[in-house]
């Protein structure tokens, strides 16, 4: 019973109307590309969606329309209904908003309601549409907003991200959000480490299949990679490419052999993709593909075991 409850997580998506909540949700979970979001209309009341993540975790997303009348309703009549049993509150601020003072006030009220009803919930504040701020001053503008909002956290556990649907910052924020919800992350990471060493890879990254959010990664190279933001970048690159391919057929595997490295992306389990990066000249393509095959069986069993534990069916094969 507690298992079941533990794996259905209520996630509130709040913030002023037009701040970009539905846009982010559509890109991360419904395969929209950024420019498709221009067609989205304002959300009326609340749109509920149940997103299966990694098969054994269900995100219960409440995308709360942000027009003033709705917000008032959430804070008054629906207060308990909305703010009870929340695992995560994602609060979105539009960087272009002309009434930041008012936005911050409504934010405080939501935090207060959350603290009363779900004291253990985590809060993620996304200062959004950062693409509209010129590159050189982004850091400073973000810092200013954060400074003001930090004082209104009401003692809750709050993390801040600057985001935009037009670049990889979206994936960085959302990967952090789901990380706090994945129940068996340490086990997964331990297995991934073993695999990395067994196949002598430089780096291995595990992605969730539909969102392409990074679940876990292991680096075992000798020369540090100069791109610390590469995880969200790869999510963004591959997700966009998957989207592009889907016009023809879905993409199943990718191989790249370049002068000083090789990279392989393949379906790992029904719910994951894996990226394996090998230093140049270490292994033949066939060997890497065979290693991924072994890992596929192993991680597949792991996933299957968890599904049986949960009492659910789910015997889908990787479609390749």
């Amino acid at each position: 019973m507690s298992e079941r409850k533990g794996r259905k997580k209520k996630v509130l998506l709040m913030g002023k109307s037009g701040s970009g909540k539905s846009s982010m949700r559509s890109i991360v979970f419904s395969n929209y590309v950024a420019r498709d979001t221009r067609r989205l209309g304002a959300t009326i009341d609340i749109e509920h969606s149940h997103v299966r993540f990694l098969g054994n975790l269900t995100l219960n997303l409440w995308d709360c329309g942000g027009q003033d009348a709705f917000m008032e309703h959430y804070l008054q009549q629906q207060r308990d209904h909305i703010f009870k049993n929340v695992a995560v509150l994602i609060y979105v601020f539009d960087i272009e908003s002309r009434e930041f003072g008012k936005d911050a006030l409504v934010y405080s009220q939501c935090i207060e309601a959350l603290r009363d009803n779900s004291p253990g919930a985590r809060v993620f504040v996304l200062v959004h549409k950062m693409d509209l701020v010129q590159g050189e001053v982004r850091e400073r503008v973000f810092g200013e907003r954060r400074g003001v909002l930090e004082e209104r956290g009401g003692g809750m556990d709050v993390r801040f991200f600057g985001t935009s649907i037009w670049d990889e910052t979206l994936y960085k924020a959302w990967a952090s959000i789901v990380h706090t919800l994945i129940p068996n992350l340490p086990t997964l990471t331990a297995h991934l480490r073993t695999f990395t060493h067994l196949c002598e890879a430089e780096e291995v990254i595990l992605f969730e299949r539909t969102t392409f959010l990074v679940i876990s990664h292991i680096f075992a190279g000798t020369t540090p990679n100069p791109h610390p933001d590469r995880f969200e970048k790869i999510s963004n690159i591959v997700k966009q490419f998957k989207q592009s391919c889907s016009k023809m057929a879905s993409f199943t595997a990718f191989t790249l052999r370049a002068a000083n490295f090789s990279a392989f992306i393949d379906v790992l389990t029904p719910n994951t993709y894996i990226l394996v990066v090998m230093p140049a000249g270490v292994a033949e393509t066939e060997a890497v593909v065979a290693n991924i095959g072994v890992a596929r069986r192993f991680f597949g069993e792991l996933e299957g075991m968890e599904r049986r534990e949960r009492g659910g069916g789910g015997d889908s094969e990787p479609d390749r």
């Binding site: 420019r35 221009r38 693409d131 509209l132 010129q134 590159g135 935009s164 037009w166 670049d167 780096e203 190279g221 000798t222 020369t223 990679n225 100069p226 791109h227 590469r230 970048k233 790869i234 690159i237 591959v238 966009q240 490419f241 592009s244 391919c245 016009k247 023809m248 057929a249 879905s250 993409f251 199943t252 595997a253 990718f254 191989t255 790249l256 052999r257 370049a258 002068a259 000083n260 490295f261 990279a263 990066v277 230093p279 140049a280 000249g281 270490v282 479609d319 390749r320």
Partner: protein
């Protein structure tokens, strides 16, 4: 955001006709509004050249400053050419302005019209320019970009295109210039259309286009390839394709494939210290061998290759051809199983290509 007066502008791509340096292209983007009379700016000229030739993310064009002088942007690629971009403020019909300096070597004039704005002024300005320039420089290709069509409905796009074509052809007829061939392209920096349009503009300026097409046809026929594109990697312009019809979807996927290769290459292509220095126990005697192999590889600069499998049994196969060009083939997976044959045919293609470009140098 865009002032109502802002609506259009022009660009020029030109190819040098000097026999001695026939591999030089000059491409110019001309700013279109002159001296208060033609306050037509912000049509997107700088955005186009930044996005296509300098990989600027489209959303960052918001911060581009207005161009105030002629910018000559040399592009070193499979062929050298220049993009000239002229600012909105210059009236290049002004007798003092050195028209010949721009158009004598020009291969193409690209005229950029802002389709999200009232474009009549820009169109009048285009017509004046055509009447003034075309008789003197009949070999310059005229390319009209009906730009910023993102956010316009399909109907509106087509209506606009029809309107622009109608007005322009009428104007040319009235001036007895029917023989002038004008091409029209619907473009936006937010999708593939700008790259596709630029590809078509550049292809017309490649004298060996026919030969390239024939080579690609032969490659496809001999290797079971359904469609092949030869791309300039940095600009994502495709300089040739086999003569089977281009289907937009496969072109877009191939173009996106280039992005994936370039982006992943940027992330993981960094210089590694040779493993020998690190002295990891496991490899024992191996490091020295591995090191020298790496050196050897570096000397030969092996061409990058990439393979993408799709669920419908198709594969995308990319091969770096030289420093600038990459070949992308779309084929059934059965045909790539004979990878040796495909590799061999590509090598033959590569050598032939080398000869084609060597000839005209």
């Amino acid at each position: 955001m865009i002032p109502s007066s802002a609506s259009s502008s022009a660009a020029v791509i030109s190819r040098s006709r000097k026999e001695t340096s026939s591999s030089t292209f000059i491409a110019s983007i001309l700013g279109e509004d002159g001296k208060g009379m033609w306050p037509l700016r912000l049509s997107g000229k700088s955005s186009i050249s930044s996005v296509v030739f300098h990989k600027l993310p489209p959303t960052d064009t918001l911060f581009l400053e207005s161009t105030t002088r002629i910018l000559k942007d040399p592009i070193h690629s499979f062929m050298d050419f220049q993009v000239w971009e002229t600012p909105g403020q210059i009236d290049y019909l002004d007798p003092q302005f050195d028209v010949d300096a721009i158009f004598a070597d020009a291969g193409a004039l690209i005229w950029v019209i802002d389709a999200q704005d009232d474009y009549l002024d820009s169109l009048n300005r285009l017509h004046e320019t055509l009447v003034a320039i075309c008789p003197a420089y009949p070999t310059v290709n005229i390319e009209v970009f009906i730009h910023k069509v993102d956010g316009l409905s399909d109907d509106y796009k087509l209506d606009t295109q029809r309107d622009v074509i109608q007005r322009t052809q009428d104007e040319l007829t009235d001036n007895g210039l029917d023989f002038i061939n004008v091409s029209y392209h619907l473009t936006s920096i937010f999708d593939h259309s700008i790259f596709e349009a630029f590809s078509k503009v550049i292809q017309k300026l490649i004298p060996q286009l026919g030969t390239l097409e024939n080579l690609l046809n032969a490659l496809c026929a001999n290797s079971g390839i359904e469609k092949a594109f030869l791309f300039d990697v940095l600009s994502k312009i495709y300089i040739a394709t086999d003569s089977s019809p281009v289907d937009v979807q496969s072109y877009e996927i191939c173009s996106d494939f280039i992005d994936v290769i370039v982006d992943v290459g940027e992330i993981y292509g960094f210089e590694r210290k040779p493993p020998a220095e690190e002295g990891e126990g496991v490899e024992g005697g191996e490091p020295a061998g591995a090191g020298s192999e790496a050196e050897l590889e570096e000397e030969q600069e092996p061409e990058a290759m990439s393979l993408i499998r799709l669920q419908n049994g198709m594969v995308l196969y990319l091969r770096e051809i030289n420093k600038y060009l990459a070949l992308i083939c779309l084929m059934r997976k059965e045909n790539i199983e004979k990878q040796g044959l495909v590799e061999y045919n590509i090598q033959v293609f590569q050598e032939a290509l080398g000869r084609v470009f060597a000839l005209q140098r």
